[in-house]
């Protein structure tokens, strides 16, 4: 079966320094893949390379067999990528409802959207996503009044509203309380099968809660791949990663 997202020898170099170095990755349809690695391993850079926020120095990225690595960002999004940023990025001056509405991207053209007004379909989708991410009672609140955890949920909600083919989540639980993290795990587990996700995470209990397969990278390179049990048993991984801060929270 062809992978939905495929990275082939993906490389990013700043002068001499290769922060991502010949990295390969295949994510299949309906899979929830965790991408693990110590600080500075190149996880965010990898997501940047997939979405086009940074330019590749080598290799290629393909989505459903089509090479997308020389497309501009918004074209890649239109092809089916959706992304949650490591530092939560929501529209702070807009309400939660407006944020979700903006993410409901049925039409993208400015001219076309001049004639699009709130309709039932949009409202239903927003309500559905809002209850999924626990923001149903917060729809009228401005995003800058949300707690940190709620802001993360809002951005997760936006990514869900987008109806993308693959969801790229960069540290979705950063800054969340243990309870919020657990709740987020439940949300993600509910998406399995119907959605394809690539989740960058540090929180091992969260990874245990959600992961099917885990890929570990270190210093820009592929280190290991397998089930969470395989990974936790892997000596190399223990040495570079789990050894550092144990299996707990990791800044």
């Amino acid at each position: 079966m062809m992978a939905l997202l495929e990275l082939h020898q993906v490389t990013k170099a700043y002068d001499e320094l290769k922060v991502v170095d010949g990295f390969d990755l295949k994510v299949h349809r309906g899979e929830l893949r965790c991408l693990l690695g110590p600080n500075g391993a190149g996880k965010t850079t990898t997501i940047d390379l997939i979405t086009g926020r940074q330019k590749l120095s080598g290799g290629q990225v393909s989505l459903d067999g089509t090479v997308i690595s020389d497309w501009p960002e918004h074209m890649r999004v239109r092809a089916g990528l959706a992304r949650k940023f490591q530092i939560p990025a929501v529209f702070k001056g807009l309400t939660v409802r407006q944020n979700l509405e903006a993410a409901f991207t049925r039409h993208l053209s400015p001219i076309r959207n001049m004639f699009v007004f709130r309709d039932r379909e949009t409202q239903d989708r927003i309500d559905e996503v809002a209850s999924l991410v626990n923001l149903k009672d917060r729809l009228r609140v401005r995003a800058d009044e949300l707690s940190h955890g709620e802001t993360q949920w809002l951005e997760i909600g936006m990514v869900l509203t987008q109806n993308a083919r693959i969801l790229l989540m960069d540290e979705p639980t950063a800054g969340m309380t243990t309870q919020e993290t657990h709740k987020t795990g439940e949300i993600f587990n509910g998406l399995k099968g119907t959605h394809t996700l690539l989740v960058v995470e540090h929180d091992m209990s969260f990874v245990r809660q959600i992961a099917d397969r885990v890929t570990v990278m270190h210093m820009g390179r592929f280190l290991a791949e397998g089930t969470i049990q395989d990974i936790e048993r892997n000596e190399e991984v223990q040495r570079v990663y789990l050894g550092q801060g144990g299996a707990g929270h990791h800044a």
Binding site: K92, A102, T105, R140
Partner: protein, 358 residues
């Protein structure tokens, strides 16, 4: 929670419609041609603040170049009205051109023989200019304060051009068409109630049109782009596309103001392209509240009302005060007077709610 009457769209529409309906009675109540003309001018200046509110308040694009669209349109209208007084046989060339030793009407002026063409060009040329200028700026991802600098530089270029191309523009003196605008057989007297109502009608249409536009998905995305362009891009929107579109619409509104202005004052000069004028528009919008279309319009009425009350002798002192006011507003009242109303209504809602909570 930020949901009080201020944010209720139905309430907003009622306020807007009632406001414009009441404004229609102003000339009847004041019953003085000079004051009616003055108020008609305020309406046009309000339209400029409206265009600033759209592009800056909602679009987050701090354009100091709104005067370009206003000025170009004003020249177009001035040329149109000037040509209405010329005759192809007896006097084919405006007199200022003769003193500048032109013997033939420049090609640039030819289309303005025909009034409808002239008015359409007066609106179309600035709008298309904003489209192209906007495309150049926003596709190159010019943002933030650089937009202010680039638009200001462009404005200065147009100002110099209007000033220097004496044979075509009458330079410093400007163009003063000898008679008021004629639409067919009908003469629009600048001092009549009719002129006021035309200006008011256009301002009403522009404001309600923009209000509707801002309630569309387009309006939402424009604001999303203001908040975080990168996020919007990663939702799949073409950020520059939205910026170009909103910039162009604001240019059209400013152009409409330029056309109306010359209909009302029967005069156009390089002052319409002056930097201080374009900066003032931004101040009016800031004072009234750039995030509120009506607020921005009222800001223009308010500041210009005071300015004309104080008279011309005080002008430079006033500009100083205006600058100070701008700094204070930006610092302490970022949403202007409309923002004051917003927090007032907020308090009204909060108080009973708090008491219930106790």
């Amino acid at each position: 929670m930020r949901s009080n009457l201020y944010h209720n769209t139905t309430a907003q529409w009622i306020v807007y419609v009632v406001f414009f309906a009441l404004m229609a009675f102003v000339p009847i109540v004041i019953d003085d041609t000079f004051t009616t003309n003055l108020f008609a001018r305020f309406l046009v200046l309000g339209m400029l603040a409206l265009s600033v509110s759209l592009v800056w308040g909602f679009g987050g694009i701090l354009s100091l170049g709104q005067g370009i669209a206003f000025g170009l349109a004003a020249y177009g209208m001035g040329m149109t009205m000037q040509m209405q007084s010329q005759d192809p046989e007896s006097s084919p060339i405006p007199s200022f051109m003769l003193t500048n030793e032109l013997t033939k009407l420049p090609l640039l002026w030819e289309p303005f023989w025909h009034t409808p063409t002239g008015i359409v060009l007066a609106l179309l040329v600035p709008t298309v200019f904003f489209l192209i200028f906007g495309a150049m700026m926003f596709q190159a991802r010019v943002a933030g304060v650089f937009v202010a600098i680039v638009t200001l530089a462009m404005l200065s270029a147009w100002y110099s051009m209007a000033f220097d191309m004496q044979p075509y523009t009458a330079g410093f003196n400007g163009i003063s068409p000898p008679s008021p605008l004629k639409l067919g057989e009908h003469i629009v007297d600048p001092y009549s109630n009719e002129a006021y109502w035309i200006a008011l009608g256009m301002l009403t249409l522009a404001t309600l049109g923009l209000k509707l536009l801002l309630q569309s998905k387009f309006g939402l995305i424009v604001q999303a782009v203001r908040e975080d362009p990168e996020r919007a891009r990663f939702l799949g929107y073409s950020v520059s596309g939205y910026q170009i579109a909103v910039f162009t619409v604001s240019g059209f509104v400013a152009a409409l103001a330029g056309v109306l202005w010359v209909m009302i004052v029967q005069y156009v000069s390089p002052t319409s392209l002056e930097v201080t004028f374009s900066v003032s528009m931004v101040i009016w919008a800031a004072v009234g509240g750039r995030m509120s279309l009506l607020g921005a319009i009222l800001g223009a009425f308010f500041v210009n009302g005071i300015q004309s009350y104080l008279g011309d002798e005080m002008l430079y002192g006033f500009l100083l005060v205006l600058g100070g006011l701008f700094i204070l507003i930006v610092r302490f009242l970022p949403s202007g007077l409309a923002g004051l109303l917003e927090s007032l209504l907020e308090r009204l809602v909060r108080r009973p709610a708090d008491q219930r909570g106790q």
